[in-house]
Amino acid sequence: MTLLLSPNTQWVLLSTLILGMAAGMIGCLAYWKRQSLMSDALSHAALPGVVIAFALYGSKNLPLMILGAAISALAGAFFIGWIRSSSRIKEDTAMGMVLSVFFGLGIMLLTIVNRSAGGNQSGLDGFIFGQAASMVRSDVYTMLALGIIVMLVVFIAFKEWKLYLFDPDFAKGLGLSGRWMNAVYTFVLVLVIVIGIQAVGVILMAALLIIPSVSARYWTNSFKWMIVLSAVLGGGAGVIGTMLSAAGKGWPTGPFIVAASSAMFAVSLLFGAEKGLVVKAVQLRMQKKQLAESWTQHAAIEEAQ
């Protein structure tokens, strides 16, 4: 299978493995803060930043536009947090609003920029979003750095995260400043999202942040194991998806990684030790069987007396 060892496949394999693990880990925090869809919201909120960066600079310069995207996404995250904390608007409503209003602003700016002179401003709304298959050696290093940052943030303050996610008020009581924890969480999440979407695109990034953590939830009740498992599932999906895409003719890499993680989710949903449906059905049947047996013993004893 020489195809497998082609340099591109190796780069994509390594990058998606590490990105999958990092997204899996931060995905768990997002899962418990009910912000799994944050990545989709922020990737839309990034558009105004991209258009403004392009308008200021005059032509397409990828790093600058990604910086614009990051600033715009952070502004989006700030608004979501502010709206949610100081009004009774719920999390998902705040995300839906920021997503669509920022994107609308982006389209407005894009149409204005389109009309002004200056060349090649076409395709701005899709320009910064990458594709998994087009990752190169430098991407492996960026993903490595990202993975290390996420691992550090999660494991250094592991107990604090667990407490903060489970019971923020009690955590505040212990002197753990919710504001600071939230700031670190939001920053790391936005970092992972922005680096992720420019490397693998919006949909794959959303999938990597959501599906591994949800699947892990089916195997364990312990927060620690959920993070470890989610990282393994995320990385695994990256590897399997990449292999599949390299094997087939014209099979797109990003969507195949999503398909791989969805397959893992289906397996977890059915057979997950903790809450898997089949497992629960088996438990139910076993209990009914035990019940039947105890009835027969009960009847036998009565007859004997």
Binding site: R88, K280, Q283, L284, L291
Partner: protein, 242 residues
């Protein structure tokens, strides 16, 4: 003739078996406290009887027929906390919701329904908070509104899941007064209760439950020290002499 009959009821919750072989029957016009340690299956018993949770085996009959047929004659006050308190509705609206089952499809609440709702709110001493948004009410007041919502159904048989949990003293007295009035009107009430000290003053019958019926009957003769010990498995240090 028993108003409620439970025979050989078994149910499981996730992995562990919570109710095994629960059998008891309840006479009309009684005020029964369902008492037992944590995890004894008190709430699950209520949910299973009302078809809100699947049962493994056994059957339950209300007024001699299954739950589905007599829904309107049964009132249910679930445990507080499962509701989004920011929902745009005021106290009167919440109480009106108790009638939705009876008002039926397509029809809108009539003036008489509103008056009934106001009356039961008044019974719980909450009449002048009728148009107050529910998040602006205290825990005790919210509980009174939920109780009023059950009363307005004018059911014959009431199930209440820890109505006195986390309420202030005034609310506790008001709720118990209402339960006593219901009893005098010949209604039957079953209440999941956790405070052993008040069992004797509040309830005329007691169902001691620890995954199975430990004891059931009038409070005076079954609410004895050894029954409670058997139900709580010796977890109690001291207890008022029977």
């Amino acid at each position: 003739m028993a108003i409620l009959r439970v025979d050989g009821l078994n149910a499981a919750y996730r992995k562990n078996r919570v109710l095994n072989d629960v059998t008891f029957s309840v006479e009309p016009g009684t005020l029964t406290g369902i008492v037992g340690p944590n995890g004894a299956g008190k709430s699950t018993l209520l949910k299973v009887m009302l078809d809100l949770h699947p049962k493994l085996s056994g059957d339950v009959s209300f007024f001699g027929s299954p739950h589905g047929k007599v829904k309107t004659r049964i009132g249910y006050v679930p445990q507080r906390g499962s509701v989004d308190w920011d929902f745009p509705t005021n106290a009167l609206d919440v109480v009106m919701m108790g009638l939705y089952g009876q008002i039926g499809w397509f029809k809108w609440p009539k003036r008489s329904d509103k008056e009934n709702a106001l009356a039961s709110l008044d019974q719980m001493g909450m009449a002048d908070y009728a148009d107050r948004q529910i998040s602006q009410l205290s825990g005790g007041q919210q509980q009174r509104v939920f109780l009023a919502r059950a009363l307005v159904q004018n059911a014959d048989l009431y199930f209440m899941d820890e109505p006195l949990a986390g309420v202030d003293a005034a609310t506790e007295k008001a709720i118990m007064m209402t339960l006593k009035q219901l009893k005098e009107m010949g209604k039957t009430v079953m209440v999941v209760h956790h405070d052993l000290q008040t069992v004797e003053d509040y309830f005329d019958h007691v169902l001691l439950l620890n995954r199975t019926v430990v004891a059931h009957g009038p409070t005076d003769n079954i609410f004895t020290k050894d029954n409670v010990y058997r139900a709580y498995g010796g977890a109690l240090r001291f207890m008022k002499e029977a």
